[in-house]
Subunit: 112 residues, 2 copies
DNA sequence: CGCCTTTGCATAGACCATCTATATAAACTG
DNA sequence: CAGTTTATATAGATGGTCTATGCAAAGGCG
């Protein structure tokens, strides 16, 4: 039945936080965001396009990022995303939320 | 009703791991599992019935737990779940998977 | 006694984030 | 010129979690 595969490598719910964090370093286009997360996580986390672009759209609508068409380092047209002040605030919210939930999970996992 | 109630308190994908861990302490019925997780996590994690029972059914089918009807400490009929050897093995798999993914997330979140 | 709360199991249906698959296109590569 | 890489985007499937609901029995209380 279910053999291997690592679908859902990403803990659902953390994608937007990872994107926000990535953009807090510098503005970046979607493809670059995916590469950055994959590289830094040593390929443990892979952001699929079908997850990435819808997430960026949601975040645009919510005002956490702004977007601008430019030319990439490889001379291709690309949409660069920049963290807004609201996005930076949201990053803080998600970071503290994540550590709270993670702490709770660890308490359960450490009980004997 | 529930105003500030955050949905998705639980990181999706961790529920089965938390159940396996709880049952590794001792056999327990569903209601008790939910209470245990809620108590230990200091109410950060709330396992809803609509999540719990389907999860237990899946785990039964996969052979990670076995079930037996008994009488609870409160003198009510209750279905007690016991971790099987396969379930114990699965707990190890999910623990290492979780720490791997968590480590990857932390690497992304710690980059400057 | 009648009522309410707690305990306890279970399912149906909604929701929604993520994945798979596909389409498009320009630039570089051999 | 064919193939790979870069880059964006959408449609549709998947699946786990949540909301809502139903049932039922035990125990406490006035």
């Amino acid at each position: 039945m279910n053999e291997t595969k690592g679908k859902n490598e990403l803990l659902p719910g953390t994608l937007e936080m990872l994107i926000l964090k990535t953009l807090s370093i510098q503005p970046m286009h979607g493809y670059g965001i995916a590469q950055h997360i994959r590289t830094i996580s040593r390929s443990v986390l892979t952001v699929e396009e079908g997850s990435l672009y819808p997430a960026l759209q949601r975040m645009l609508v919510k005002g956490w990022v702004s977007a601008e068409w430019k030319v990439s380092a490889n001379n291709r047209r690309a949409r660069f995303y920049t963290l807004t002040p609201a996005g930076r605030k949201q990053l803080g919210v998600e970071e503290s939320r994540f550590s709270q939930v993670f702490g709770a999970i660890m308490r359960v996992m450490k009980t004997t």
